[in-house]
């Protein structure tokens, strides 16, 4: 470990931490009435940090804090997604939070601190910085899940997430301790070197990786560690669910890739088997259990489990093209899921929010643009050709086939066909069923804006607007990881 601090490399993170603490002071002195101001300032903070990262840090490989913190093209790509996810979630949450009387000034600050944890996860270059980043993110998310504390569902979601999250952190730590014990280091670069020479003969490290994978799979909600997802997604306030489905998934997947490809390339054969299993299991569970859901948030929870399965197919390929396809996939997934959750936030009547799929009946006759946008998201999530979601799946399966994993790609294709059924069912309910009472439409302009933009970049012109630039960026980012 070299003693270089290189604080400059972590400048965006430092700005964000100080920004969050300054906003906290502002909020404490002004009270909850300052929600709008704090929320806007948080969004400004995200933008400032993103600009500082892109302009001042750049995509060169640099390490800071004695090798514990790394910034490279891969980190820049993933962090951009986290900034975007956090800012968009704050944009769409104001109306919902005010309606439910939970528009407290701590909300944007917790979102910002959670995002800070994600940035640290993405930039982790040692097992210790991985763990503290992960805990910073998780702890903020537990609080956000229980934010609507007067509603039993929300507190239950928070408690469930907390207990299972603590258990998974325990497994992760146990794995980390085994790896440290058997290799004598927590630094990713040194780990990669040590394990390259020893390989699978270091049986203790292999067992450590199994435990670490269990912990990481929990954080990305991959099967068989997905049990918490539907309950937490359903119970949490909808903007929080949108946040859960977006930014933390990106960060956890980035961590997954960084640990597996950056620290354990010497044990690729070992972790590849596990990743193949969890990706197949996630795709199947996401496809089949979602068939029977009636609540749209639960449906989207299973949908997100399935999508993590598809993304992991790319990682299972274990090639640079595979990682590149994961990056493309997760970016597209972010746009689809944020658009869909923004649409869920418009499902409000005078008596409050509604969450059943049947409440969408006949939406095309009450509000055609809304129905068209939601239909685009559903088609895109299903992976219908020419929409953005299709390209994500295309590159992932292509990478898998090139790496000789055609059975996994085949199972993925079959799972997509099954999952297309429930996505198309939503479209059928919206366009062909007898109209239910219409929604009141007071969801705020920013929600409409987010729906409009994400529908546009997911629509059939997505290849020009979203996918083509993404391919360039993802190719640049995936080169940064050592192959």
């Amino acid at each position: 470990m070299n003693g270089e601090l290189n604080l400059f490399v972590a400048l965006p993170e430092i700005i964000m931490a100080v920004w969050a603490m300054a906003l906290l002071m502002l909020g404490v002195f002004q009270g909850d009435k300052s929600y709008n101001q704090i929320s806007n300032l948080t969004i400004v903070g995200f933008i400032v940090c993103a600009i500082v990262m892109l302009v001042n840090v750049g995509g060169e490989r640099q390490v800071a804090f004695g090798g514990m913190f790394i910034s490279d093209a891969f980190a820049v790509f993933m962090k951009t997604l986290v900034y975007a996810g956090g800012a968009v979630v704050l944009l769409i949450s104001t109306t919902y939070l005010k309606d439910h009387k939970i528009a407290r000034f701590e909300f944007p600050i917790l979102v910002m601190l959670a995002s800070l944890g994600m940035l640290l996860m993405i930039s982790a270059n040692s097992l210790m910085s991985l763990y503290v980043g992960l805990e910073l993110q998780s702890l903020s998310l537990y609080v956000l899940a229980a934010m609507n504390r007067d509603r039993t569902r929300s507190t239950e979601a928070g408690l469930k997430y907390f207990l299972l999250g603590a258990l998974s952190s325990g497994m992760l730590l146990y794995g980390i301790s085994l790896i440290y014990g058997f290799t004598g280091t927590v630094d990713f670069d040194v780990l990669a070197q040590v394990l390259k020479t020893e390989g699978a003969s270091n049986i203790g490290a292999v067992i450590g990786i199994v435990f670490m994978l269990a912990g990481l799979a929990f954080k990305v909600s991959a099967v068989p560690f997905h049990m918490w997802t539907p309950d937490v997604y359903e119970g949490s306030p909808t903007p929080v669910t949108a946040f859960f489905a977006a930014a933390p998934k990106v960060a956890a997947l980035a961590l997954f890739i960084r640990v597996m490809v950056g620290a354990f390339p010497g044990l690729m054969h070992e972790w590849q088997q596990i990743v193949i299993f969890i990706s197949i299991a996630s795709m199947l569970v996401g496809a089949f259990i979602a068939l029977v859901q009636t609540n749209i948030k639960r449906l989207l929870a299973y949908s997100s489990i399935g999508h993590i399965g598809y993304a992991l197919v790319g990682l299972a390929a274990g090639t640079q093209a595979g990682v590149e396809s994961v990056l493309i996939y997760i970016a597209i997934y972010l746009t689809m899921t944020l658009g869909t959750f923004a649409s869920v936030l418009t499902m409000r009547r005078s008596e409050g929010m509604v969450e059943n799929i049947s409440d969408l009946a006949g939406l095309s006759r009450n509000n055609l643009p809304m129905a068209v946008a939601l239909a685009i998201f559903m088609f895109s999530l299903a992976g219908i050709p020419l929409l953005a979601g299709f390209w994500g799946k295309w590159y992932v399966f292509l990478a898998a086939v090139e790496a000789g994993l055609w059975p996994v790609a085949l199972i993925g294709l079959l799972a997509s066909v099954v999952s297309a059924f429930y996505y198309l069912r939503v479209v059928k309910i919206m366009f062909f069923d007898e109209p239910a009472a219409s929604f009141d439409g007071n969801h705020g302009r920013s929600v409409s804006f987010v729906i409009g933009v994400s529908a546009l970049i997911n629509s059939p012109v997505s290849y020009i607007l979203l996918v083509a630039p993404l391919i360039t960026a993802a190719g640049w980012a995936s080169k940064a990881l050592l192959f």
Binding site: M1, G3, L5, A10, A17, M21, L24, A64, F65, G66, M68, F69, R104, E106, I109, L110, L113, L116, L120, M128, S129, V132, G133, E135, L136, L139, S140, Y142, V143, A146, M147, R149, G158, F182, T183, G184, T185, V190, V194, T197, E198, S201, N202, I203, G204, I207
Partner: protein, 214 residues
């Protein structure tokens, strides 16, 4: 004849007391006794630290763990009315499956231990980390590690604690009606005229009721 130096004797004494107290912590019926045994375990581990030349850690253990944490435990144990008999009720019911899982884990650990093998670099990787206790003072060595080498981890841990604090306040703090709070600004701004008035008392008439102000 078995010969033990004074240090060795002290080590075995402290080690025995630590292990025995640790066993009593989990076997004591009364939770208050458990906490008291825990304090004994802390004290004897502090003795072990002193033997290893880590005086600062020993003092920290006594001050922080015994002085603060154990006392906090005592408070919690005494204030929360937990029925420990009830908690133990399902014990026999779950014993077989628990024992089975424990046995499987133990066998796995044995298998793992039999294949125990350290890589060639392990010794060199670990060796470079901490300077010898004789070279650097305790506090200086700790300071170097915590505030210089691992400043990143230390600061992030601080942020995690900040989130924990925000979370506790967000989830539990409520503004209740009818709570009388101290308002320092109001107290400071209070003038003598608001607080009392001078009354000329006529002889034999008594004091009239004061008019209430502020």
């Amino acid at each position: 004849m078995l010969s033990l130096s004074l240090t060795e004797l002290a080590f075995y004494l402290f080690a025995f007391v630590t292990v025995a107290a640790g066993a009593l912590v989990i076997s004591a019926k009364n939770p208050v006794h458990s906490v008291l045994w825990l304090i004994l375990a802390f004290f004897s581990s502090a003795g072990l630290f002193v033997l290893m030349g880590a005086e600062f850690l020993a003092m920290l253990l006594v001050i922080v763990y015994v002085g603060a944490v154990a006392v906090l435990f005592l408070f919690v144990v005494m204030m929360l009315d937990i029925n420990f008999v009830e908690l133990r009720q399902g014990f026999l019911q779950y014993l077989p499956i628990g024992a089975l899982i424990g046995a499987i884990l133990a066998i796995e650990l044995v298998v793992l231990g039999s294949a125990w093998h350290f890589g060639p670099d392990v010794a060199s990787n670990i060796a470079a980390q901490a300077p010898a206790a004789t070279e650097v003072e305790n506090t200086k060595a700790l300071g170097q590690i915590i505030y210089t080498d691992y400043i990143f981890i230390f600061q992030t841990a601080g942020l995690i604690l900040l989130v924990a604090m925000i979370g506790a306040i967000v989830l539990t703090h409520r503004t209740r009606p009818g709570v009388k709070r101290q308002n320092i600004a109001e107290q400071v701004a209070r003038r003598p005229e608001d607080a009392f008035e001078l009354v000329d008392v006529e002889v034999g008439k008594g004091v009239p009721m004061p008019t209430k102000k502020g």
